[in-house]
C-alpha cells in the first residue's frame, strides 16, 4: 500500500493497515542502528525542526537521532510558552519556521490540538510528539511495536494501561492503536483518573487492580505526575502505590509471561517497584530502542507524501 498522509497527528485517524505499514517499515529500519555506519540517505537534503514548547529531553533526543539516521538536518527550536504570551501566536511561530525552508515539524505542546492548528497553517509534514493530554502517536506506535515484537502479534492480546489515564496522551494513542489491531484494552486507576467515558471509546474501565491483574498479557504503567499531588485526584503517594502500584507482591499474581512497560521516566517505588522495572518481564529499555526505528519510519513515510522536494 501507499502511505497517504503528510502528517501524523493521531492514531485515532489511522487504519489498521496504515498502522501495520508503519510497524513493518520500522522493522526494516531497525537494523540500521546495528550497522557500523548508522545512516541511510532516505531524508538527505531534508530539514527537520524539533519544535518543543514543553521540555522532554528523551523524546527530543529520540526524534533527533531518528532524523540523523535518515541523513536529515535537524534544528532544535525550544520555544517556551512565553513566546505566546509575548503575543506571537502559534500560527505565526510556525509560519516563521516554515519560511526558513523546513520540511518536517516535530512538535510537542502542552495544549491538546496544538498540532492540528500547526498542520492547518503549514505545508510541512507535522509529526505530533505529544499534544496536551490528547495523543502521543509515536509513543503509542513504539509501545505497539514492542508488544508485537515480544508477543509476535497484537490481535487477541489483553493489555492493561494503569494510572492517570484521563490526563495521559500515551493512553489515548495506545487505546486507538491497540483496538484497531484487535487487542482488548483495560484502563485501570482511581475513579478520579479514569473517567467512565472511556468505556464509550472501547476500553474496559476497572478501578480494582487486584481483581484483574492475573488476566493481562501486557501491563503498561503510566507515570504519575507528582504535581498532581494536592489536586485531590489521589490522597497520597503511599495510598496510590498500595492500590495501583506494580509492586513485587502484585507481580507474583500477574501472568508468568506478562510484559511490563512504562513510557518513562519512572518514579521508582511509586507506580512501579525498582525490581519490577529492572526485572525479566520489563521491556522498558527495548521501548526506548524501538522508539528510534518507529520515528524513522514515521518521518520516512510522511515525507514521501511531500513528493520530490
Amino acid at each position: 500500500m501507499v502511505w497517504p498522509h503528510r502528517n501524523l497527528l493521531t492514531l485515532e485517524e489511522l487504519t489498521s493497515d496504515e498502522i501495520n505499514l508503519i510497524l513493518d517499515t520500522a522493522a526494516a529500519f531497525e537494523d540500521v542502528s546495528t550497522r557500523s555506519v548508522k545512516k541511510v540517505p532516505a531524508l538527505r537534503g531534508r530539514v527537520v525542526v524539533n519544535l518543543f514548547f514543553e521540555d522532554s529531553t528523551r523524546t527530543r533526543t529520540s526524534f533527533t537521532l531518528a532524523a540523523q539516521r535518515l541523513s536529515a538536518d535537524v534544528i532544535d527550536f525550544t520555544a517556551k510558552a512565553s513566546s505566546l504570551s509575548k503575543g506571537e501566536s502559534l500560527r505565526d511561530t510556525v509560519r516563521n519556521i516554515e519560511a526558513m525552508g523546513i520540511d518536517v515539524i516535530v512538535c510537542r505542546h502542552s495544549s491538546s490540538g496544538a498540532n492540528h492548528l500547526i498542520a492547518k497553517n503549514t505545508k510541512c509534514c507535522v509529526i505530533n510528539a505529544g499534544d496536551g493530554r490528547h495523543e502521543h502517536p509515536t509513543q503509542g506506535l513504539l509501545d505497539i511495536y514492542t508488544i508485537r515484537k515480544a508477543k509476535g502479534r497484537i490481535d487477541g492480546l489483553k493489555v492493561a494501561i494503569v494510572g492517570d489515564v484521563g490526563n495521559s496522551r500515551v493512553a489515548r494513542s495506545n487505546l486507538h492503536g491497540l483496538l484497531k489491531l484487535g487487542a482488548e484494552v483495560t484502563f485501570v486507576g482511581p475513579t478520579t483518573m479514569v473517567p467512565g467515558a472511556f468505556a464509550k471509546m472501547g476500553a474496559r474501565v476497572v478501578h480494582d487492580f487486584d481483581s484483574v491483574i492475573g488476566e493481562f498479557d501486557v501491563i503498561n504503567m503510566l507515570r504519575i505526575q507528582m504535581e498532581r499531588l494536592g489536586s485531590n485526584v489521589f490522597p497520597s503517594l503511599g495510598e496510590y502505590t498500595r492500590l495501583f502500584g506494580l509492586t513485587n507482591e502484585r507481580m507474583k499474581r500477574a501472568r508468568q509471561d506478562v510484559l511490563v512497560m512504562h513510557p518513562g521516566p519512572i518514579n521508582r517505588g511509586v507506580e512501579m517497584a525498582g525490581d519490577v522495572a529492572d526485572g525479566g518481564r520489563s521491556v522498558i529499555l527495548e521501548q526506548v530502542t524501538n522508539g528510534l526505528a518507529v520515528r524513522m519510519a514515521v518521518m520516512f513515510l510522511c515525507t514521501q507524501a511531500l513528493g520530490a522536494g
Binding site: E12, S89, L90, G113, L117, G132, G166, R172, A197, M201
Partner: protein, 450 residues
C-alpha cells in the same frame, strides 16, 4: 433632530404578541410613535395623499413585528475597541433586526459606576442606530467582593446587574446583592458557573472532551450555582435571571423553581439550540464558547424549555474576538462567538422549522418578554408606543458570510450555513435604521433611552 414625521408600512403580516395580534394590516407611525394599525380586508387600504417626508414600505409577504431585543450583548467598549465598539455593535444589531440591545459590563474597565453607565449611553446616542441599555456590574470591578453602587447606576440608566463573564462565587455577597437590588426592582442576572468546578475547562466535560484530551467544563458548574441562587432568590423575592442556560438539568431546575413560585427567568443562545460538543471537530476555536456546547440531550431540553415557556428570552451572547486571538490553540483561545447578525435565522431554524414555536411565539421571546423583563417599555406595537419595528422576510434564503458582517469581529461557527429568514428593515423610534437594500442609516442623534 430629524425624525420621519410619517411612516407607513403596508400590507404586512403584523405579529404583535403583546396584544395577541396576527393579521394583515397597515402600520402607521407618526412622530416616532405607533399611530394606528389598520387591518387590510381584501382590498387595499385607503390611499392617502403623500405628505412631505412620508416613507412608505410595502411589506406584502413580510412579517411586521415589535423590534427585536437582545438582552445579552458584549460590546467591548471601553477597552477592546478593535474587537467591537458601541457603534459597530449597534450597526450589527440593526442589520440583524434588533432595535434594542442590552450590553454586559465586563469591559475594561468594567461598567460598575454611574459615569461608566453614562459613557455607554453617550456613545450609543452618538451612533444613533439602536437603543443600547447598559447593564451594570453587581460588584466593584466584577471582583465578587464589594457591591457596586447600584442605586447610582439605576439613576443613570442601568436596567439590570450582572458580573457576567463569571458568576458571583461568594454566597453571602450574592445574598446581599439580591436583597439590595430588590430596592430598585431591577433583576440580577447571573452567569451560572461555579469557578472551582469549572476550573481549567474549555469544552463540555464528557466523551468528546475525553477523546480530544481537552479539560472539561462540567454541567455541574452551571447547575450547582443555579441551584444555590434559586434558594437565595426564593428567600429574598428578588427577580433573578439565569443567563445563557445550557444544560438539561438547569432547564429542569428553572421549571421546578417557577412551579414553586420563585421569581426566576432564563435565556438561551442559538448555538445551544443547534450545536453539540461533537461539532468542535478538529479543535475549531469558533466552537469555543462559555457555557460550552453540550450534548444532544441538553439541546433537546433547551428547545423544550423554550417551547413550554420555561426559558423566556432568546439572546445571542454576542461576544466578538479578533481573528488573531481565535487563531490560538483551542485551550488558549478565548471563549465566545458573535451572534447579532445570525441570530434570527438560527432561531427560525431551531424553533420554527422544528414546529416548536409559531411566529407569535418566537416574537414573544425575542421582543415582548425581554422588554418586560428589563422594563424597557418596548416590545409592543400598541398605539402610542415608541415605534421600534422589525420587518422580516421569513422566506429569504441566504448564506451566512462572516466577511459581510458589520460587527468588527468574524468569530462564528455558522459561516457558510444555508439559512432562511432575515430582517429587511429595522425601524427605531420611527426612523429606518437599517434597510437590507440601502444598508445602515448614517448615525444621527438620537434615540431616547426610556
Amino acid at each position: 433632530m430629524v425624525k420621519n414625521s410619517n411612516l407607513i408600512i403596508r400590507s404586512g403580516r403584523v405579529v404583535d404578541p403583546s396584544r395577541n395580534l396576527d393579521q394583515i394590516a397597515d402600520v402607521t407611525v407618526v412622530d416616532g410613535r405607533i399611530e394606528s394599525i389598520n387591518p387590510v380586508d381584501g382590498r387595499a387600504s385607503a390611499p392617502e395623499s403623500s405628505a412631505p417626508g412620508r416613507i412608505e414600505i410595502d411589506a406584502t409577504g413580510l412579517i411586521v413585528c415589535p423590534g427585536l431585543i437582545d438582552i445579552h450583548v458584549h460590546l467591548r467598549e471601553p477597552g477592546n475597541e478593535d474587537e467591537e465598539t458601541i457603534g459597530s455593535g449597534s450597526a450589527a444589531a440593526v442589520a440583524g433586526g434588533f432595535t434594542s440591545i442590552a450590553c454586559m459590563p465586563n469591559t475594561q474597565p468594567a461598567i460598575d459606576n454611574e459615569a461608566m453607565v453614562e459613557f455607554v449611553l453617550r456613545q450609543a446616542a452618538r451612533s444613533g442606530l439602536c437603543n443600547v441599555f447598559p447593564i451594570g456590574a453587581i460588584t466593584k470591578g466584577r471582583q465578587g467582593l464589594e457591591l457596586a453602587e447600584m442605586g447610582h447606576m439605576v439613576r443613570a440608566g442601568a436596567v439590570a446587574f450582572t458580573d457576567d463573564g463569571c458568576g458571583v462565587a461568594n454566597s453571602n455577597t450574592m445574598l446581599r446583592a439580591l436583597q439590595y437590588a430588590k430596592m430598585f426592582d431591577v433583576p440580577l442576572i447571573q452567569h451560572c458557573e461555579d469557578a472551582d468546578l469549572a476550573s481549567g475547562g474549555c469544552m463540555n466535560a464528557g466523551l468528546t472532551a475525553t477523546r480530544l484530551g481537552l479539560p472539561g467544563l462540567s454541567p455541574l458548574a452551571e447547575e450547582v450555582m443555579l441551584q444555590r441562587d434559586l434558594l437565595l432568590a426564593e428567600s429574598t423575592g428578588t427577580a433573578y435571571h439565569a443567563a445563557h442556560i445550557s444544560t438539561a438539568g438547569a432547564v429542569r431546575m428553572i421549571r421546578e423553581a417557577r412551579r414553586r413560585g420563585i421569581r426566576v427567568t432564563a435565556e438561551v443562545c442559538p448555538h445551544h439550540l443547534l450545536l453539540t460538543e461533537r461539532d468542535i471537530g478538529d479543535y475549531d476555536t469558533n466552537f469555543k464558547m462559555n457555557p460550552p456546547l453540550r450534548t444532544e440531550r441538553d439541546v433537546e431540553a433547551c428547545r423544550e424549555g423554550v417551547a413550554d415557556g420555561t426559558i423566556d428570552c432568546l439572546v445571542t451572547d454576542h461576544a466578538p474576538h479578533g481573528a488573531d486571538e481565535k487563531a490560538f490553540d483551542f485551550q488558549t483561545a478565548p471563549f465566545g462567538i458573535v451572534g447579532l447578525e445570525t441570530a434570527l435565522p438560527l432561531f427560525i431554524r431551531a424553533l420554527i422549522e422544528t414546529r416548536l414555536l409559531d411566529w407569535p411565539g418566537l416574537i414573544e421571546r425575542l421582543s415582548c418578554l425581554p422588554s418586560k423583563l428589563l422594563k424597557l417599555g418596548r416590545g409592543t406595537l400598541a398605539p402610542g408606543a415608541i415605534a421600534d419595528i422589525t420587518i422580516i422576510d421569513p422566506a429569504e434564503e441566504w448564506v451566512i458570510s462572516p466577511s459581510e458582517f458589520l460587527s468588527r469581529s468574524r468569530n462564528t461557527p455558522f459561516g457558510g450555513w444555508q439559512v432562511r429568514g432575515r430582517a429587511t428593515q429595522t425601524i427605531v423610534a420611527g426612523r429606518v435604521s437599517f434597510d437590507r437594500h440601502s444598508g445602515v442609516a448614517s448615525g444621527e442623534p438620537s434615540v431616547g433611552v426610556r
